[in-house]
Symmetry: D2
Subunit: 407 residues, 4 copies
């Protein structure tokens, strides 16, 4: 009497996640999807928040779970959604991160000159071909080309189930309880009008809290100084390794990593060379971190220094500023670093450098968060009376920083 296709996955965040359609199960079982088990959701944030070692696999499942709940709520309010649309929306969210490589952000700025969004598109097409078109509608929804726009908004907007899951999940695993959002209340407040996703009036405060929680997570976690430091260190390591490889140096690397170290790779490569995508799908955190461990004893002093620091958590010092970093400050530190580590010129740029980062809590130009009032009026969350999310939060905050080793 038990349906054999019904699988239950334990999730510390939501309790249980139910998988009850064979196509969903087939996607999750696919090697392209299973590889997400080996990619950390929060990259190197674990250097600061040691509990934050959860994977993109679980995040994707979590977002899928929220999608199931959101669809059920919306259907319960009388909005027509067909079984096909429901399944496709679930698949769209399940696949939303499929193109992520290991330490995506760092990787895209060093080894591979392609964004994960573009790779996602390629991978979805590859899977769709393998599954003989079963993903057609999911891809339409994902790309915002389906007429019921609210399905796309659930997958990708400023109040999508992706954000809801990652804020909630990252908050859970880091232990930063202030990031917790009332995702269940927000889901209960979702509704649809004229095909667009809306939040009922009484959900205003939950949405505001969601936006504030996101802002907090950015500054306290994602852009925490030591996280910024570790991720910049990783970028420098991979850039150096690629440079050395392109110059013909010998570097320990897994077969997949070897592929991306010793060739120039950009979007065109993925389109033209068949093995590029398949090699990419073999790449995960184990290739990267395994190589970095081996490189700690490489003969190139810049590479081995950086690798040793990262592995043993001797992170760069980071100074943040609301103004661009004074070149004189950089020059001064470089001088000291040069004396201490015996490096000069371009080599020194791997150890001492400045950069900038910015966060915008809410973007009034992007997919807005619309509030549906009882009287039928619709307003953007930033333009309601007594809005919390106003000028302040809608302006991107830019921060400049300098990284350098302890001197």
């Amino acid at each position: 009497m038990v349906l054999s296709n019904r699988k239950i996955v334990n999730d510390p965040v939501y309790g249980f996640i139910t998988i009850d359609h064979p196509l969903i199960f087939k996607i999750i079982s696919h090697p392209y999807y299973q590889r997400l088990r080996r990619i950390h959701q929060m990259a190197l944030a674990q250097m600061v928040y040691p509990g934050a070692v959860h994977t993109r696999f679980l995040h994707s499942l979590g977002a899928y779970h929220l999608m199931c709940n959101a669809l059920q709520e919306i259907k319960g309010k009388g909005v027509p959604i067909t079984d096909e649309e429901e399944l496709a929306s679930k698949i769209a969210i399940l696949l939303h991160d499929i193109g992520h490589g290991p330490y995506s952000h760092a990787l895209e700025h060093s080894l591979v000159d392609v964004g994960h969004e573009e790779i996602s598109q390629l991978l979805m097409q590859a899977l769709n071909k393998e599954f003989e078109g079963e993903l057609d509608l999911a891809i339409e929804i994902f790309n915002g080309r389906y007429h019921k726009n609210f399905l796309h908004q659930l997958v990708s907007s400023q109040l999508d189930v992706d954000r809801m899951d990652y804020l909630n999940r990252d908050s859970f695993f880091t232990g930063v309880s202030e990031g917790v959002i009332g995702y269940d209340r927000i889901l209960k407040m979702l509704t649809v009008r004229n095909g667009e996703l809306m939040v009922e009036e009484k959900g205003i405060y939950s949405v505001e809290k969601f936006i504030v929680a996101r802002r907090l997570m950015y500054w306290q976690v994602y852009l925490h100084k030591a996280v910024l430091s570790a991720e910049n260190m990783l970028v420098k390591i991979l850039s150096r390794a690629k440079k050395l490889a392109m110059e013909g140096a010998d570097l320990f690397a897994s077969p997949a990593l070897h592929h991306f170290l010793y060739k120039k790779i950009d979007k065109q490569s993925f389109i033209e060379q068949q093995d590029c995508l398949s090699q990419f799908c073999l790449l995960d955190d184990y290739d990267i971190m395994g190589a970095i461990k081996a490189w700690t004893i490489h003969s190139d002093p810049v590479l081995s220094l950086l690798c040793n620091w990262l592995i043993n958590r001797k992170l760069f010092k980071v100074q943040l500023s609301s103004q661009p970093i004074d070149p004189a400050l950089i020059a001064g530190i470089k001088e000291q670093a040069s004396a201490k580590f015996g490096l000069t010129g371009e080599d020194l740029d791997y150890l001492v450098f400045s950069d900038e980062t910015s966060v915008r809590a809410y973007n009034v130009n992007d997919e807005k968060i619309n509030i549906l009032f009882k009287n039928g009026i619709v307003k953007d969350i930033s333009s309601i009376d007594d809005a919390l999310v106003t000028h302040t939060l809608a302006i991107p905050i830019k921060k400049f920083y300098i990284c350098h080793p302890k001197i």
Copy 2:
């Protein structure tokens, strides 16, 4: 080998609360303190949030627990605090709500023309007399007359342990998870400079989140329309009952409630009449709600109508507005109510009426929340760079409303 004076109290919010000083234990055991077991922390919010039935007794213990933690953190940072000061600070917070009567807010606007702060002062003095001066220092700290101002600020300021506990606790018992604050992180970030309470720089986002959570709890819980409705209904019931009693009507009442129904009571009464304070200490939610249940069959139609509605949760309809309520609207509804319930004139004012309420998320003129930056600079939370808590949150938001029965 177990210290007999050590008591452990289970608390669903913090796990365990430890009481390890005989004077603390003596205070908690006192009938004045035990009566707080019979006073709901959130008055009639339980009409909307049925889990919110926790008592002032547990809130006071919770605030005491946070005070213990806060003092330990601050001492751990090298700030000198003597044993006497520590004990006195704990007592000060333990007693901060001692003057609350049943449904305080409603009571103070109907039966008793005295604020709970004034009664607290009287009760602390009475207890201090009974305890032969053992509360001297606690009372000094409570009243902000002790030279180490940070101890007072822990008891009473915009970031005191009272607020931390009630936000946290009310959020826990209502199930409104968005109200949860990172109290443990805020406590870890507390420090002292020049005798004033400060928050370390890296606690900024937690403090912002605390202020936003408070704002949310006000609009979503404390001033929820149905809560507002129930509490206004209670004010009207008690006002009506007092009016009838003063006119000589016969009303079911416990001995303590009888005392306050049949006499005009103001601050002077508490000072001049000895039994006033002792009778007040016998009054709790059981007297009020017990009487209201009995009054459901009272011969006065206004009283019995209101009591029936409250007991059986037929609450007033409430309409909120950012503008004062149009008198024509009130008149129109009164007319309908008059036709339906057969009441006129002053009697009708108990059924249809308007009022206003206001919330200010952060008050720049009150005990500020100061941030201590690493470079030694101190700034108010509302004047830091990229502040979330700025103009918007520091302006009181006023809302007007009208209450009336279903017509």
Copy 3:
């Protein structure tokens, strides 16, 4: 587009409880049901666990919520359940505690010689009459007279949603985290075979844990010495008050309490006297505790002593024993108590007395918990291989105790 009949209730335990049928809403709105808001689920356990002030109202809603989930799971496994059966099962659990009076256990042993189960039956019939037969099927299921026995077992058996909710909820509100059960896993493991409720094989350990959690909650919470003490004190107070009332003494009492104090009441009274049931429905914790507060100054020394002790938490000392209490011990303590309080004879029996209590973690003769193995075999949880719940847990454990004031 929002269904107007859909109500959401915040619950700190489960997050949100959804009510989506007008009949469910009609029942919850009924005064008979609303009165459960004024009856504490755990009676006087709050004397020891101050957070345990939740109401029977919320417990009933919680059990209803679990029933909704259980039915959805079971249906999801292909077991046919009609809409009518689903609604009726939800109503059956919603009403399972409708007959509880204030401090039921104490009340039934003093004021009212009727069990709450019998009153429940009477109240269900009364409601069914008022609702013109709409509760027929619910009552059939409740009473185990419907052919699909698993629906009854969900309402009432050793693994029913009532137990699941109260263990979970009482654990939550007391803060005794060890009582927490994996209710969501148990629900996922429920299945049906031959019309009987079963647990799938892989749910064995969750069920064992459920039974052990229940055992722990009994000894650590429900039968905690101070809880036992407070509840025995309440029994003695109500017995004394009834005795005095029947002898013609004047006692402060609400109209409803007056009804039950001044008349002999048994099951027959409820059947024959129309006002008996209606008066019972006006009785709640406020009547009882309100009276006890007033009785603290009653002229009867036994009554006023006991009431003062209970109100100010000067509880009886309790000694537990696995053997019956030695009469000599009782006699000795009585002598001391007599000297201290100036009471003799029968009066002394209110202050010093012995009694017994017993707990059986699992009853092999009652509605068993059946495990369905993958190979189709069905076994009682106490007879599986390597069972934890075996002889030990299936034997009732009897404990004897003596209560007496501090001497």
Copy 4:
């Protein structure tokens, strides 16, 4: 005013972990300790419980945190503990898992013929030498050679902080809420008598619950069929790789893994060859999983088959039995596997094999859990009245199983 040596680590399980001694900080910063960041606490349990990706690093910190709390409780009860003893006990627990390699259990049964306990001893000595004897007392306590035996019992016994943390933490990260233990209550109940660790009488039920939770975690998580399957697959992979390496085959491997693949390693090697321990300290999950990924395309069909299965989660089927597996059954399955995979003889033993496992919930012969009754009597938890943990739980339960690929 902030002590610069004070570090706070966010932990999702306990909130915050405080490190306030420079020696503790020095140990945690050591590469030997930092490597625990790269070793999963629960090995391959993440194949079933995708949230269970937490590291030994965080577990060790968590156990350290519980030790801090336990010592504070015990000192608070008047048991004398010097500052040196306190620091040493904290270090002892911090280092208790230092000898764990990647996937320890599997590793010890394939690559390295040494237990992690022995490596722990060697590593503690190495660290102690580097720290010039600062760990002397910690090592004494760890090894049970210090006269205050309760300190050792906190580090290692049937109720030590190691077990408390891992049960709690594994339960948290797997989402198996039934494994949650009332660690805070148990800590509050700890006491010392005659130098031995005891639990106060009123902690009995919490201890019973702890033992039952452990039993549940074993059967439901640690020995879950799919976990057993994955870990056996890993053992077979590493055994096969070692065999191939010793025969001279070429295998992708990091330098550290190369060391252990191409040499016979036993305890003697660690003692005699200096680089053995240092190479071991470079080994972590990244070396193992990185190699397995590369081996998926190895020319040896047994190795590449197994590696592909593990990486893509095509796990062995597992059948459990309370009886030894019938050789005829094994032979039959081997025959099918031989036909399907074209393997014979010894090669087939890597694909089809049987083994056994056993769990004992409580061991009456090991470091017992002693209950201290109020009357001064001490009893083992398994010999108290009405014990839950009796014959049943003290007997080891042995289970036999067969593993084989899907046929």
